[in-house]
C-alpha cells in the first residue's frame, strides 16, 4: 500500500464527507436537541427575568433570578444540606471502599460471590432498595432500631426526627455509592505492578506495612479521582430522597437538596427562571470539580 493515498478528486471527496455526516446524523441530531440546545437555553433562561413558559415571554435580561435564588432560604438550606451530604458520603465511602477493594484484591476463594454481594446495589433501582431501607429505618418496628437496642440504644426516629434525617440519608447514600467506588478502586489496584509487592515481601515487610507504604501511595491518584467523581455524583443527590421520605424533602421539609430545589421551583412553583439559575449554580460546582479531575488526569498521564 502507498504511504499517502492519492488526493481524491473533488466530487468524490464531497461524497465521502457527506457519507460521514450521514452516519453521524442521528447521533448529532439527538445531541443537538437534547444536550446542546438545552445547555444554551438554560443559561439564557437563567438571565431572563419573569420568564413565562406558557407564552414564552420575559420582562428583560437581569440577574434577578440569581439574586432571588441565592437569597431564598430554601436554596441556602439546599446548598448546606448538599454540601454536608457530600462531605459525609465521599470520605466515608472512600475509606470503606479502599479497605474492601484491598481485601477483594487478595484473590481469596469465593471472590466472585463477594463481588456479586458487594456490587448489587449498583444495578438495582434506588427507589426499590430505598423502600427496603425505609422499612429498616422505621422507628417502631424497624430492624435497625432493634439491632441498636441490643446495644442499649433507645429507638431513633431516623425518618421522622429532623435531627436524624440527614444521617439516615447519608447512610443510605454511602451504601448506595459503595459498589461503584469499590469497582473503581479495584481496577486501580489491579493496575499496580505485582513486582512491588513481591519485592516488599522478599524484604520481609509485613502486610500492614505493605498496605500503608505501597498500596496506599500507589493507589493515591485513583483514590483522588474517585473522590472527585463521587463528589460530583453526590452533589446531584435527589432520587435517594423519594423512597425514604415519601417524596418530600425530609420529615419537616428540612432536607432540600440542590437538585430537589430545581424540581421544586419548576414543577411546584413553575418559576422556570429560578430553576434555571439553580441549575447553573449546580453546573458551576460540577464544572470546577471536572476541571480539577481533567487537570489531575493530565498530570498523571504526563508522569507515566
Amino acid at each position: 500500500m502507498k504511504d499517502k493515498p492519492q488526493a481524491p478528486d473533488q466530487p468524490r471527496r464531497f461524497r465521502a464527507i457527506g457519507e460521514a455526516y450521514l452516519y453521524l446524523a442521528p447521533f448529532l441530531l439527538g445531541l443537538a436537541i437534547f444536550t446542546l440546545y438545552p445547555v444554551i437555553r438554560v443559561f439564557l433562561m437563567s438571565f431572563q427575568s419573569d420568564y413565562n413558559y406558557l407564552n414564552g415571554t420575559y420582562a428583560g435580561w437581569s440577574l434577578e433570578n440569581y439574586q432571588n435564588v441565592l437569597t431564598d432560604p430554601k436554596f441556602t438550606q439546599a446548598i448546606r444540606n448538599t454540601l454536608l451530604y457530600v462531605l459525609a458520603v465521599v470520605p466515608i465511602s472512600t475509606i470503606l471502599a479502599v479497605v474492601i477493594a484491598w481485601l477483594l484484591n487478595r484473590r481469596l476463594h469465593g471472590s466472585a460471590i463477594f463481588q456479586t454481594a458487594y456490587f448489587k446495589p449498583m444495578v438495582t433501582s434506588i427507589t426499590a432498595v430505598g423502600l427496603a431501607w425505609r422499612l429498616m429505618y422505621n422507628q417502631q418496628y424497624g430492624i435497625l432500631n432493634y439491632v441498636l437496642s441490643v446495644f442499649g440504644v433507645s429507638k431513633i426516629g431516623w425518618l421522622t426526627d429532623p435531627k436524624w434525617s440527614l444521617p439516615a440519608l447519608v447512610i443510605f447514600g454511602i451504601w448506595n455509592i459503595l459498589p461503584f467506588t469499590i469497582i473503581l478502586l479495584l481496577s486501580g489496584l489491579q493496575n499496580i505492578n505485582e513486582l512491588y509487592y513481591t519485592a516488599a515481601r522478599v524484604d520481609g515487610a509485613k502486610e500492614g506495612r505493605i498496605f500503608r507504604r505501597i498500596t496506599v501511595p500507589l493507589l493515591a491518584p485513583t483514590i483522588f479521582l474517585v473522590c472527585i467523581v463521587n463528589t460530583i455524583s453526590s452533589f446531584k443527590v435527589f432520587s435517594e430522597l423519594y423512597p425514604l421520605f415519601k417524596g418530600d424533602p425530609g420529615p419537616v421539609y428540612n432536607l432540600y437538596t440542590v437538585v430537589y430545589y430545581i424540581r421544586y421551583m419548576m414543577m411546584e412553583k413553575r418559576e422556570y427562571g429560578y430553576a434555571a439559575a439553580a441549575a447553573v449554580v449546580l453546573f458551576l460546582f460540577i464544572f470546577v470539580f471536572t476541571m480539577i479531575q481533567l487537570f489531575v488526569k493530565k498530570k498523571l498521564r504526563n508522569r507515566s
Partner: protein, 273 residues
C-alpha cells in the same frame, strides 16, 4: 501460619461487609412474604411463618404493576435499540470516516459529557411537551438516544481494529456500510454487550426523568410506579416489599449472569457518575 491468620481476618471483614451490603435485599425479599402482622411486630421476626405469594397478588391487584412492567420492558428495549444504533454509526464515523476536523468535534463532545442531565431537564421537559410527547413512552427514550459516553467507548474499540482490515475490505469492493456491519460490529461484540447492559440497567432503573415527564398510570415505568404505590399502600410495608422485589429481581438476575461485562463498563465510568 501468619498468612492464614491474615486471610481469616480478611474473610471475616469481607463477610461482615457483604452481609451489610446484601441485608437490605434479603430483608426486602423476606418481608415480601410476611403477613402484615409479621412485618410490623417488634421485636422483628426474621423469617415469615409461611412463604405465600399473597402480597404479590394483592400488590398487582391494587396497582397496574403488569402495565408498569410492560412499559419498563418496552422503554428498555427501545432505548437499547435506538442508542446502540446511533452509537455504532457515530463511533464508526469518528473512527474511520473522513470529515473535516473529527478531533475538534470529538473533544467538544467530551467537554459536553460533564454537563449533568439534571441541568438539561428544564429545557428537555419543555421540548418534550412542545413535541406533544408528554406522558408518552417515546419521551422516556428520546433524550438518551445519543450517548457521548457509549460512543466514546465504542470509538475506542474501533480505533484498535487495524486500518489495513478496512482498506483491504474496501479494495475488495465492500462499502462502508457493509464493512461496518459485517466486520466491525461482530468484532466489537464485547464492547457492544457492555454498552447494551449499561444502557439497559440505567433505562430500567431510571427514576428522575419519568418523574418529570409522565403523570398517568398508562405511561409509568416500574420505579416511578413503585414510588406512586407508596402513597396507595404506604401503611402496608409487606405489599411495598413485594412490589420492590418485582422491580429488583430482573436486574439482579441479569447482574449474576453478566457481572464481568457490567463491572468492566462501570470501571470505565459508565454508571452513576
Amino acid at each position: 501460619m501468619r498468612r492464614k491468620f491474615a486471610n481469616s481476618i480478611a474473610y471475616l471483614v469481607l463477610i461482615c461487609g457483604a452481609v451489610m451490603m446484601v441485608f437490605p435485599f434479603l430483608w426486602m425479599f423476606l418481608c415480601a412474604f410476611k403477613t402484615h402482622y409479621e412485618v410490623t411486630q417488634y421485636p422483628p421476626q426474621f423469617l415469615p411463618e409461611q412463604f405465600s405469594f399473597e402480597n404479590f397478588k394483592k400488590a398487582f391487584s391494587m396497582a397496574p404493576f403488569l402495565k408498569y412492567f410492560v412499559n419498563s420492558l418496552v422503554v428498555m428495549a427501545a432505548s437499547v435499540i435506538c442508542t446502540t444504533i446511533t452509537t455504532i454509526l457515530g463511533a464508526f464515523a469518528f473512527s474511520r470516516l473522513r470529515f473535516p476536523g473529527p478531533e475538534v468535534v470529538f473533544s467538544v463532545l467530551l467537554r459536553l459529557m460533564m454537563i449533568p442531565f439534571e441541568m438539561l431537564i428544564i429545557t428537555n421537559y419543555t421540548t418534550i411537551v412542545d413535541m406533544g410527547l408528554y406522558n408518552r413512552l417515546p419521551a422516556l427514550v428520546l433524550p438518551f438516544v445519543s450517548s457521548i459516553f457509549y460512543t466514546y467507548i465504542l470509538k475506542g474499540f474501533f480505533d484498535t481494529v487495524p486500518e489495513s482490515l478496512y482498506y483491504s475490505a474496501r479494495i475488495d469492493g465492500a462499502s462502508n456500510w457493509r464493512y461496518l456491519w459485517r466486520i466491525m460490529v461482530p468484532l466489537a461484540r464485547p464492547s457492544l454487550v457492555t454498552i447494551i447492559l449499561l444502557n439497559a440497567l440505567s433505562s430500567w432503573n431510571s427514576f428522575m426523568w419519568p418523574l418529570y415527564i409522565t403523570s398517568d398510570a398508562a405511561s409509568r415505568t416500574l420505579p416511578y410506579g413503585l414510588q406512586v404505590f407508596t402513597t396507595e399502600a404506604g401503611s402496608s410495608p409487606e405489599l411495598l416489599m413485594a412490589a420492590s422485589t418485582v422491580v429488583v429481581v430482573p436486574m439482579i438476575i441479569l447482574f449474576i449472569f453478566a457481572r464481568k461485562f457490567i463491572v468492566t463498563g462501570v470501571a470505565r465510568g459508565g454508571l452513576k457518575g
